[in-house]
Symmetry: C2
Subunit: 203 residues, 2 copies
Amino acid sequence: MDLSLHVLVDPFALSEESLRSGVQAIALGGATVVQMRSKDRSTRELIDGGRMLKALCQKYGLAFIVNDRVDVALALGADGVHVGQDDMPVSMVRTLASQLTVGLSVSSLQEVLAAEASPPDYFGMGPVFATASKSDAGPAVGTSKLREWTRVAQAMAPVVAIGGISLENAGAVWQCGVNGIAVISAVWQAADKQEACRRLREH
Amino acid sequence: MDLSLHVLVDPFALSEESLRSGVQAIALGGATVVQMRSKDRSTRELIDGGRMLKALCQKYGLAFIVNDRVDVALALGADGVHVGQDDMPVSMVRTLASQLTVGLSVSSLQEVLAAEASPPDYFGMGPVFATASKSDAGPAVGTSKLREWTRVAQAMAPVVAIGGISLENAGAVWQCGVNGIAVISAVWQAADKQEACRRLREH
Ligand code: NI
């Protein structure tokens, strides 16, 4: 899986038309992974909302990853699942669904080191910068720690930086040696999503 | 699986000691199934909270069923999963986890009939009576419709009545010909939980 550019998508925050044109634009711009993340939705809603997003990802050659929910990932035939520290442990995901690529959120060096017994396929590390998108994301890590922790983590798995990454600061994040970056508003609030993705990948 | 008496349990609503003594008491009183149901908990909390409840059920010979979450049911090695109309469709649960007993909530004749293409292992039918436990449960079905729908449903799978069932009205529910009843407050608010279960089974 090419981890270069993850775009987080909440299919319920967008009209069907915006979702279609948005996924096409980010694919053309060089996004490689879509992660579906929705809060407070029923299992049925996640499956129904995810079905269309999954189909769009397939059409445009993007990997499709589901946040938190292994059951929804399996139901949708997703490529992977992204788990946080409050979600299912990586070792348990491996047992239940060995076919899934597993991403793990880490926001401290301690969490990186704790992953050693059962490392994920990639780390989601952050929040690099302060962000309004995820109020429970904790304090910003900053580029200096990101660089340090990335070196430690990469002995186990590649690192995708996340949290407050914009067109302006993406270059500084890439310089930390990460394998990929993940964005939300940098793409979804851009007028030209294709161009935003292209520029986010520059480094 | 003996469906006679389901007791719904939220492990986060009880102290560890109350959970231990409560599960022992209901088992001695004749409960046969525990269904874990918790709202607004992270996946990790559900797994950690469920682990102890599952162990207690195993110790006392109770079947252990998880509400909604197929991933949590699989992670815990539960006997089954109970899905509502907003949860994963029964057919999908069968595909992902054929080993699980699957219960399906129905609250109308239409929902009973819609289950024909992929029937559950049991129906949870209700709410029989008005209930404060589940504010989103819809209007009370009443014993007259419960009796009618039960006959239709039983051509597909056994029926467990749920919703507002108490020591006082349980006899009238059993007279509708159901295969089992499910309770929450009738047990958890009883001073003597063992005796409450014993009396709920009388018919
Ligand atoms: Ni009987």
